[in-house]
Amino acid sequence: MIKWLEENTPKLVLAPSFIAVLIFVYGFIAWTAWVSLTRSRLLPKYEIEGFIQYERLFASPRWETAFGNLFVFGTLFIVIAMVLGLALAILLDQNIRTEGAIRTIYLYPMALSMIVTGTAWKWILNPGLGLEAMVRGWGFENFTFDWLVDPDKAIYTIVLAAIWQSSGFVMALFLAGLRSVDGEIIKAAQVDGIPTWRVYTAIIIPAMAPIFLSAFIVLSHLAVKSFDLVIALTGGGPGYATDLPATYMYAMAFSRGDIGQAASSAMIMMLVVFSIVVPYLYSELRSKDG
């Protein structure tokens, strides 16, 4: 008995976490997938009815807005955060004397809750007393900056706040990447008289391909999960102009009492995340085994 215990201690230690993950991750995903195929409304039903929830979902104008917003928000957020992050990393990599301090300033928003970020930007961007009022106070009476309350523009305020929060992190990733590029190759290129911009475009940036991939994965993951920022900054409004799938799901689950819609929208969110993350993880795990 004691010998058996000794031999199996590692397995016994792993067992609780293993069971927890099986139930609370995979079992729960299965439950949500199941319910998304039923007629559940206020209470879950378990008779499978096919894809009616998904048909309802894609017929809903609110979901159409939310899903479309995800692509507008996601694309702008990922592209701008990556470009800005790379640019800041290159600028910071030029023997800057105060690099440590600047890095700290660029990165601190990542430590804040999105609710805090949203609250701060909501105050800055409010037309009545924020930026708009300030510039008007300087004498530009006709200055208008009311994106926060404009249904067509409000989504861009979320992009702005999200970039403010995450671009410093992308900068840190790229900076680590720049430092890991082989210095000898760069020196050789410089000795050969290759111009600086060519050194970057032909040697350094291609060498950082894995970092681009990591940054892309992290940012797209953040984009799909964005929930707190929307809630704090616009509350999904005006109307539902800035709804994202995450806020749609929450509204259906906890205020509309429409479990079927909540489950099917959650499943779509998971499909979006997995279509990005699974190829990445698969290649990571394979390269580790090999």
Binding site: F24, I115, V116, M249
Partner: protein
């Protein structure tokens, strides 16, 4: 370190002034970005120190004329979050009560899991690790509905232990990942030699691995604390009136529709809610960054 500015041709005097101008432009650009990142914090801080009267008549980025801490007092102990008017104080302590046990438990479990996966490889250990890793990436919306039901069934709906439980479960993936990647770099000969000497599973962990683990424990604790303190989704889904974490309370204060909008109180509450993680970042920034990159770049 790549210093490309040194690569320019240094023998021309013209080139030298050109380089100096470039250098200045570089610093100015970096400074402008620093201002962009600091602006919201600056505005939050100055707004929180102004009176409402001064906010209405003054400038967004002006320094306060009469510094007053009244808004901070209100935010801490009087502001209304819905029907309750006790400020963020009780919710701040809720967050502390949630974060501390959840961080400790998930870090301990992650350390044990990582130790097993990295050093006691048996059939299935890799499968376990892959399953955990995928679990890190799920959007939590996909588990919200069943979790709400299960918490109800086991009588933990709307309670602080319920939230601790949820944070432990969904934090396990990352804590296991951190420790696994750290322990993988420790030579397995060490474990083998200790086994030959008759040391058991826990003995080896306790006297060999744990003493080596301080850096990764710091990284994991900071990562988990930041995640849990800043969480809003689980907090808003699984709490009730008395058990909400500070992020939920902050959102309620900002969006409460009763009375006049007290922007200075909102800002003070926002700073209070952000202060713990900001402090952690200032004190242990190096480890914070390491956790962020470990979560994204292959360890």
């Amino acid at each position: 370190m790549v210093d490309l500015s040194l690569a320019q041709t240094p023998h021309q005097a013209e080139g030298r002034t050109g380089r100096l101008i470039l250098r200045w432009m570089l610093y100015i650009l970096l400074l402008l970005f620093a201002l962009f990142y600091l602006l919201p914090l600056f505005v939050m801080l100055t707004t929180s120190l102004k009176s409402l009267e001064e906010i209405r008549t003054g400038d967004l980025i002006a320094l306060p004329r009469d510094v007053t801490f009244a808004a901070w007092r209100t935010a801490w102990s009087e502001a209304c979050t819905g029907i309750q008017c006790e400020g963020v104080r009780p919710f701040f302590w809720n967050s502390v009560l949630i974060a501390i046990p959840a961080v400790v438990i998930s870090t301990l479990l992650g350390a044990m899991n990582g130790y097993v996966v990295a050093q006691w490889n048996f059939r299935g250990a890799n499968l376990f690790f892959s399953l955990m890793l995928f679990g890190c990436f799920i959007p939590f919306q996909v588990v919200l509905l069943p979790m709400a039901r299960v918490l109800g069934l086991i009588g933990m709906a709307g309670t602080i232990p319920g939230l601790i439980f949820v944070h432990v479960i969904y934090g396990l993936g990352f804590t296991t990942l951190f420790f696994r990647n750290y322990y993988v770099s420790i030579p397995s000969e060490l474990t083998k030699a200790a086994k030959v000497d008759g040391a058991g599973f826990f003995r080896i962990f306790w006297s060999i691995f744990l003493p080596l683990s301080l850096p990764i424990i710091v990284v994991t604790v900071i990562w988990q604390f930041t995640q849990i303190w800043n969480d809003f989704l689980f907090g808003v889904s699984f709490s009730q009136a008395g058990t909400q974490p500070v992020t939920v309370a902050l959102n309620n204060i900002v969006n409460s529709t009763t009375g006049i909008k007290a922007y200075n109180v909102d800002m003070a509450a926002a700073i209070i809610a952000g202060l713990p993680t900001l402090l952690v970042y200032v004190i242990a920034g190096k480890y914070f960054v390491r956790g962020l990159t470990a979560g994204s770049v292959k360890g």
